[in-house]
């Protein structure tokens, strides 16, 4: 169970275009527009936005992890995107965000959902990893940063 497995297959955007929280979330979810894991894409958007209203998922260090649990997906989906210009995400530390990881799980996937969140949080904590992510320019470079980092976790 690796984040990079979920991201392989074109689920990375090296340069997000959106300049609001909502646009960014939509851009990442759109990567799954024709994916068979999606039951109803509009409801997936709503679930993520609703969860964002409870408390921002901007967790500091320039990172946000919009996430949700909903039965409008059949299985876990994840996507990652980078921003050239940091965007306000209502983070607790008030700092704008330039790295965004989307994670949506099915309602009965509580356990795996938490584990994946914890892995992302663990990776974010590693300064070298964040540095490498910021320096990576293309989608495939970003993917290999994730792959390299996850080799450390088993």
């Amino acid at each position: 169970m690796k984040i990079s497995d979920f991201l392989s297959g074109g689920k990375i955007i090296a340069e997000l275009k959106g300049n609001t929280k909502e646009d960014i979330i939509n851009e990442l979810i759109n990567l799954y527009a024709d994916d068979e894991k999606i039951v109803d894409i509009e409801k997936v958007r709503k679930a993520v936005v609703d969860r964002e209203k409870i408390m921002s998922t901007g967790v500091g260090k320039g990172f946000a992890i919009p996430h949700a649990k909903t039965n409008d997906v059949n299985d876990i989906i994840a996507a990652f995107g980078k921003l050239k210009e940091p965007v306000n995400f209502d983070s607790l530390d008030k700092e704008p965000v330039n790295l965004v990881m989307l994670l949506v799980a099915k309602e009965n996937q509580v356990g795996i959902h938490i584990k994946l969140l914890s892995r992302i949080s663990r990776m974010i904590n590693n300064e070298d990893f964040r540095e490498a992510l910021i320096n990576a320019e293309t989608e495939s470079e970003i993917l290999s940063v994730f792959e390299e980092e996850e080799k450390k976790y088993i």
Binding site: M1, D5, E36, V39, R51, I54, M55, T57, G58, V59, G60, K61, I65, H67, K69, N71, N74, D75, S91, L92, D93, E107, N108, Q109, V110, G111, I112, H113, I114, K115, L117, S118, R119, S121, R122, I124, N125, Y153
Partner: protein, 483 residues
């Protein structure tokens, strides 16, 4: 000792042997049904056990009871949101596909054995349906991950095609014994059976969910018993009034499995266990019932018919039936290959035996042989074939959740994950000092992917994932604790 003590001892020993074998042979991928039948054969009068069992009527009853539980449990675990968009092709396969298979087999039997069309149709009908128990046990227990719509399609097909096979078999027997029966009359009977099966299954499932939710029992152990009796009633009532009980119980299972009700997890586990036991009991009994020496006698014809079923009849009917639907060539090929035959044909083969059809013993042995070869050849190779056709997917992670929670619509609680932000005021504090609202609880802390069961003294760290059971009216108070 009285007779029942012996029976129980023999029965439990056989089941235990089956389980031990299943465990030992786990990694060679042999379909478990073959294993259970094998244990039954070995225990039988021609094997080491020397148990003489020759009672098709008892075997039929055990088979029917087992199928009720297997189909109900299969329905309960069917994910309807995943299955609904392939329901139409699945049901077409389950009806038209079954009919085509039966007819194609009938024509070949007619040619090879030089019999009447009806006699051929009897064999064709008996082996026309794919087996839910076999397909479920291979797709669910086996280490098989399938891409996209393949799995729901195959499961839905196998769960719903038995009524058609039962109908075709009974009708053919009636036509053989009472030639004056009209085919039109029988078609009406079929429509009636399916219709009643759908209506009573649907209604039964809804009523069951309503009752389970509504009735409050003081003793929790009552719920499974209550659900069990309702399930048996849905089957038997439908069958008694002339509908297809198998279809009804499968649909009731799907309905119930896809709505929320009290003790859902516990009920699903209960029926899962029951279904496993049913499978073992059923295949053991069928293994005891057959005489291996007679199987050897039908080896030649059996193999020929299996070949025709596997390589001609099933693929032909699948390709014709799926013509109007959007499936790739590979998917059709794979669907053809997962034409596993199982308990239903063997149970159906006891019908002509009990109804005194000519040569019915030969039919029984042939059918048994075909089931064995089908599950051996197809069952054993599903995995490699899926890989070959690049339809296999990484196995669904069967991750055991540390916490299971299903929110019900009528209350205010929900389980929500929070990531403790870097720089949060919460970090470094003990839970007891957080000023947490009374009706919300941190029930799990996950740090570096490890679960920590929190207590008042647990110190929260940055980056922890908190699983919080919240009262939705109190979200703001929970939110504040982070700042």
């Amino acid at each position: 000792m009285i007779a029942i003590d012996y029976l129980l001892l023999i029965g439990s020993v056989l089941v235990l042997i089956s389980i031990v074998f299943a465990k030992l042979l786990d990694n060679i991928g042999l379909p478990t049904l073959l294993l259970f039948i094998g244990v039954g054969m070995l225990a039988g009068s021609e094997g080491f056990g020397g148990i003489y069992f020759d009672d098709p009527s008892l075997a039929q009853s055990i088979g029917i009871i087992s199928l009720i539980f297997i189909l109900f449990s299969g329905g309960l675990e069917t994910n309807w949101t995943e299955s609904k968009h392939i329901a139409i092709p699945a049901f077409t396969l389950a009806t038209l596909g079954v009919l085509l298979t039966a007819i194609i087999i009938a024509l070949f039997v007619m040619l090879i054995f030089d019999t009447t069309f009806l006699w051929g149709l009897l064999i064709g009908s008996i082996i026309s349906s794919t087996d839910a128990a076999a397909v479920f046990s291979i797709l669910r227990v086996g280490n098989i991950g399938l891409k996209g719509k393949m799995r729901p399609l195959l499961e839905l097909e196998s769960g719903s095609n038995d009524p058609m096979a039962v109908f075709l078999t009974i009708s053919t027997i009636e036509l053989l014994l009472l030639p004056e029966k009209s085919f039109l009359g029988l078609t009406l009977v079929f429509v009636f059976q399916i219709g009643l099966g759908i209506i009573l299954g649907f209604g039964g499932g809804k009523i069951m969910a309503y009752l389970v939710n509504k009735l409050k029992f003081f003793y929790e152990g009552i719920y499974p018993v209550f659900a069990l009796s309702l399930a048996i009633m849905i089957y038997s009532l439908t069958a008694v009034v002339g509908g297809s009980g198998f279809l009804a119980i499968y649909i009731a299972g799907i309905i119930l499995g896809n709505i929320q009700f009290v003790h859902k997890k516990a009920l699903i586990r209960f029926f899962d266990g029951l279904a496993v036991l049913s499978q073992i009991a059923m295949f053991l009994t069928l293994g005891l019932l057959v005489f291996p020496s007679r199987l050897v006698e039908v080896f030649g014809f059996g193999l020929l018919l299996s070949g025709i079923l596997i390589f001609i009849a099933r693929p032909l009917s699948v390709f014709i039936t799926m013509l109007p639907f959007k499936f790739s060539f590979k998917e059709k090929l794979f669907t053809s290959w997962v034409g596993l035959r199982g308990a239903v044909p063997i149970i159906l083969a006891t019908f002509p035996l009990l109804m005194g059809v000519e040569n019915s013993l030969l039919i029984f042995d042939l059918v048994f042989f075909i089931v064995l070869t089908s599950s051996l050849i197809q069952g054993w190779t599903i995995n490699p074939i899926a890989k070959l056709l690049s339809l296999s997917a990484p196995l669904k992670r069967k991750y055991q959740a540390p916490i299971e929670f299903s929110s019900r619509n009528d209350d205010d609680t929900d389980l929500i994950e929070f990531i403790v932000p870097f720089g949060s005021n919460m970090a470094g504090k003990q839970i007891v000092d957080l000023n947490f609202p009374e009706d919300s609880r941190i029930i799990l802390v996950v740090r570096d992917e490890k679960n920590i069961v929190p207590s008042g003294g647990t110190i929260i760290e940055e980056g922890d994932i908190l699983s919080i059971l919240v009262n939705k009216n109190n979200l703001e108070a929970v939110r504040k604790t982070f700042f």
